[in-house]
């Protein structure tokens, strides 16, 4: 490879690299992603379970995960959506970044084998099991305004849940970034219009999120603002904190793309 000399040569080299990365990110990587976990798949051995709790409809939970632990989120009834934000425990200015998550993975659709990135180019959580593959990174959770518009009065909502949970760990409104919502089948048409595909929700859908750094997570169990089943879309969810198997060399998340290999490398350095 020759060293680019002129500004134009540098531009052209950068464009070629971008096109190669795009082709790999949008063609090779999706083909290599694992199949969805079956609804009866990935049982957790009882001795690996650390805690188990139910979160009532409309409420929230704060969960601390150590690097290497995992959180299973179960939509028992198939009618719930769970919005999540999270911070690195040692430095809460580092937090989930939905924009980098979609940009780096070349996709606004996440499923088994994908990751959630922090704003510091590191992996927060790996999606090691996922029965659903229908999650939202673009629209966000419910708010006082979205519930007022839908029901005529403000009901419990994700924005206020995040605020209350953040306050209890010394954080505030400034610390609340855009969120990811699991079991929220938001898709869009060619004009960018969002719509909800209720058929993609099933009772018992779950995800396993493996922590790649020490984390504080907040999970809000409130119906997604686009959910056509509101206000009936309100049921408890189950959270199971457990010890994940250490990732092997062929771990689908860690090997999903050159970008993500680098993100793990940068994450591992924190703990090297």
């Amino acid at each position: 490879m020759t060293t680019p000399q002129t500004r134009q040569e540098i531009s052209e080299a950068n464009r070629r690299r971008y096109e190669e990365l795009r082709a790999a990110g949008q063609e090779l990587t999706p083909k290599g992603l694992p199949d969805a976990t079956p609804l009866n798949g990935a049982p957790i051995a009882p001795d690996k379970i650390i805690t188990r709790e139910q979160v009532p409809a409309g409420w929230y939970a704060t969960v601390r995960l150590r690097r290497g632990e995992a959180l299973r989120i179960v939509d028992d009834s198939g009618r719930a959506s769970i919005s999540l934000i999270g911070w690195r425990e040692e430095d809460t200015s580092e937090r989930i970044n939905c924009a980098d998550t979609v940009k780096v993975q070349w996709s606004a659709a996440i499923s088994k084998g994908r990751v959630l990135l922090s704003d510091m180019g590191r992996v927060l959580l790996s999606l090691v099991e996922d029965t659903s593959g229908a999650h939202d990174l673009l629209v966000g959770g419910s708010t006082p305004a979205s519930t007022r518009d839908a029901f005529g009065a403000t009901t419990r909502n994700t924005h206020e849940n995040f605020l209350a949970a953040a306050a209890k760990i010394g954080l505030g409104l400034r610390d609340i970034p855009p969120c990811v919502t699991f079991f929220a089948p938001v898709t869009l048409d060619a004009n960018g219009r969002f719509f909800w595909t209720a058929g993609r929700k099933r009772p018992g859908d779950f995800v396993d999120l493996r922590a790649e750094m020490n984390l504080v997570l907040v999970l809000s169990n409130c119906a997604h603002p686009l959910d056509t089943a509101r206000p009936a879309a309100a049921d408890p969810i189950t959270l199971i904190r457990h010890r994940a198997l250490p990732p092997g060399n062929d771990d689908p998340c860690r090997t999903s793309s050159p970008e993500i290999v680098r993100a793990y490398e940068f994450t591992d350095r924190l703990y090297a």
Partner: protein, 230 residues
């Protein structure tokens, strides 16, 4: 406010400034003032954040904006919504057609992940935002998913997400009219690793107009303000 403003006369602007390539800028935009961002040379992404001037904990929220709008792109008529659900500003003119608010800003750290570790040592929008926000007592904590004017990021129904070549031509502009007093912060994007700037960052122009009834007859004094060196 629903009626679009008439196209303002350039000579009535109360403020006009060229932001050099790769540099940040910020200014308070008063309620009902209009900010025009001109992509002077074309294909230049402009990253922007808005904060409520009276309480900067209230700031622009991409997810609230998209939820309220029901669609994924920022365009003429888009209301820019805060994290408290209030309208901060709206897009009142647009000669370009489509802008992004899902792709965030570039950072040294995300560049290193996307394009290799060597690109960690290239200037990035987040460096601009951190430095510009520090003038207002704000920090990295205050940086949220921003607006990307003139940046073309189509999202496929499958979810595929691509930053493609900018579609703005030289002189294309977007007007944003404030519904409240806002701190408007811009990073003139320095990214050279993807097509958002046509691989060649260039200067942009910002102009501000008072509400039509406040505009003086005849030419207003144009204040110019050079940006503070890094």
């Amino acid at each position: 406010m629903a009626t679009p403003l008439s196209i303002p006369d350039v000579s009535d602007a109360v403020y006009c400034h060229d932001i050099p390539a790769e540099r940040p800028w910020s200014r308070i935009l008063r309620q009902r003032q209009t900010l025009r961002i001109v992509d002077s040379e074309g294909q230049q992404a402009v990253d922007a954040l808005l904060y409520c001037a009276d309480d900067p904990a209230e700031r622009y929220s991409s997810q609230d904006t998209l939820r309220v709008q029901g669609s994924a792109y920022v365009e003429l008529g888009t209301r820019l919504i805060s994290n408290k659900g209030r309208v901060m500003a709206r897009v009142t003119a647009d000669s370009c057609g489509r802008h992004d608010t899902s792709a965030g800003c570039c950072s040294c750290e995300s560049n290193a992940v996307r394009f290799g570790e060597a690109t960690k040592y290239q200037h990035a929008c987040r460096e601009n935002f951190i430095l510009e926000l520090s003038k207002h007592g704000l920090t990295k904590r205050d940086i949220v998913a921003n607006l990307n004017f003139f940046m073309n990021v189509p999202i496929d129904p499958s979810g595929a997400f691509t930053v493609v070549d900018g579609i703005s031509a030289p002189g294309n502009y977007v007007d944003v009219t404030a519904d409240m007093d806002v701190l408007f912060v811009i990073s003139n994007c320095p990214q050279v690793n993807n097509p958002c700037n046509g691989f060649n960052p260039t200067p942009i122009r910002v102009m501000i107009w008072d509400p039509p009834e406040m505009q003086r007859a005849g030419r207003a004094d144009i204040q110019s303000q050079s940006s503070v060196p890094l």
